[in-house]
């Protein structure tokens, strides 16, 4: 009986010691690949440049865009440009072996270009063809290309080496780009990119401004948001299919 009692005391001691440790050591086990940011000081410089560009040009243009054009027209413009990205999404989905999504994008493009009047109206979504976005950066990730260091691109914002390569490939290989280049209308590409940027900023005017105002380190916040969101896009799983904390546990 004494032996049992001693065993119990030792066990209790160990348990208490464990508890005492736990009390101060609840910690995060973060297995997500850490942000590789070896070029941080260079990136911070580009980030500062982008902020100036945003303050004096992009944000004022976005505000003007909001004032001049009513919400419905802005939505039509957004839909139009979004529709032009469907062929590239379809190609990338196919390259990733996701033929279902590839077909969905083709259907969306066909429906919205015809019934949706050149994409101004997104009729495909209401018919059950959900919008998705696949780019070449995601395709490279599917083929096992690592993201590489975090990279802030002038004017274009947060990226990684892999995603930047994906962007460049997108500029060259997107069927819409090829068609415009073929017709000698490459200027439309720059106009399209500019309008897209202004539209994105308009949609997120308060959100981005508020995010900056409530961030201790805005650069780190944006980097964190970009990498996490990108990671989720690459995993390509819907929110209810994935375990969001599988790599990020609180013990």
């Amino acid at each position: 009986m004494k032996g049992f009692s001693n065993f119990f005391i030792v066990f209790a001691f160990l348990f208490l010691a464990n508890c005492a440790t736990n009390n101060n050591s609840q910690r995060i086990v973060d297995k997500t690949p850490q942000a590789q940011d070896p070029w941080e000081s260079f990136n911070r410089g580009t980030f500062a440049f982008n902020k100036v560009f945003d303050k004096y040009l992009l944000a004022p243009l976005a505000k003007g865009y909001r004032i001049i054009l009513p919400g419905e027209i802005r939505k039509g413009v957004r839909n139009f440009f979004s529709n032009l990205k469907e062929p590239w999404t379809s190609i990338n989905a196919a390259l990733q072996g996701d033929f279902r999504n590839s077909g969905t994008s083709i259907m969306r493009f066909g429906l919205n270009t015809t019934v949706g009047l050149l994409g101004i109206f997104d009729v495909a979504t209401s018919l059950g063809f959900e919008k998705q976005k696949e780019d070449f950066g995601q395709t490279l990730a599917v083929y096992g290309v690592e993201p590489g260091p975090y990279l802030v691109l002038p004017l274009l914002g947060p990226s990684t080496v892999r995603d930047a390569l994906g962007k460049v490939t997108g500029f060259v290989a997107d069927p819409v780009t090829i068609a415009l280049n073929k017709d000698g209308k490459e200027n439309w590409l720059w106009i399209g990119t500019a309008v897209n940027g202004i539209d994105f900023r308009e949609q997120n005017l308060e959100k981005i401004d508020n995010l900056e105002a409530t961030s201790v380190d805005f650069y780190a916040t944006i980097r964190s948001l970009y990498l996490e969101r990108r990671n989720r896009m690459i995993r390509n799983q819907s929110a209810d299919e994935q375990d969001p904390f599988q790599e990020f546990d609180i013990e």
Binding site: R27, R66, L205, A220, L225, E228, N231, P244
Partner: protein, 204 residues
């Protein structure tokens, strides 16, 4: 008598330190209640900023384990070397900081519909999958991480479109914590909390 004391201590230890088992339906209902409370906040006129902030603070205090979140965000080393009093100060300031963030990001009510899809129990936590559907914006997916640390069900993290609140804030605070320590972080947050109210999205 000695044995009883040990058993009692053991039981206390279990109650204090271990997360309690969570029922799937309870976690589900818990998040539904949060959604309903959040929709009520969205419906408060944007001019009544104080009421919005007050209601949001109530929501955080009732449904989120803010001291636990604050502790995890500081990290093990910083927390270990911080006095209880200073941690309490940080925790209070951090709560005001979070209220400021969400009162400015929450937006206004424009027919959003909050739906809880399903709940999974993993280890000691419930992961509640939900979405906010809106006629004007793409659907937003939110995953709530819920744990019972003996204070009833509490949210310990939320992930909006794949982005974790905990991780974002840890990264946001890292540089100041590394260079100026918790005192520097407290000072920075204090001055940020003094800034005027921010413009609410959708308040055009």
């Amino acid at each position: 008598m000695r044995k009883i004391k040990i058993i009692f201590t053991l039981l206390m230890c279990l109650v204090i330190n271990n997360a309690l088992a969570i029922n799937e339906n309870d976690a589900n209902q818990f998040v539904v209640d949060i959604g309903n409370q959040a929709i009520k906040i969205l419906k408060i006129p944007v001019d009544d900023k104080d009421k919005r902030k007050k209601e949001l603070q109530n929501l955080l205090q009732e449904k989120f384990d803010m001291p636990f979140i604050a502790r995890i965000i500081l990290g093990k080393e910083v927390f270990k070397n911080t006095s209880e009093e200073k941690f309490k100060k940080f925790s209070d300031i951090f709560e005001i900081h979070i209220v400021k963030i969400y009162s400015s990001q929450l937006g206004t009510y424009k027919g959003q519909k909050f739906t809880v899809k399903n709940t999974e129990i993993k280890k000691k936590d419930a992961f509640v999958y939900s979405s906010i559907e809106s006629p004007d914006f793409p659907t937003t997916n939110i995953v709530w991480r819920v744990r019972d640390l003996g204070k009833g069900l509490k949210v310990i993290d939320m992930q909006v479109e794949g982005v974790s609140l905990l991780r974002t804030k840890r990264n946001d605070f890292k540089m100041v914590l590394d260079s100026q320590g918790i005192d520097g972080l407290i000072m920075t947050l204090e001055s940020m909390n003094q800034l005027p109210d921010l413009k609410i999205p959708g308040d055009n």
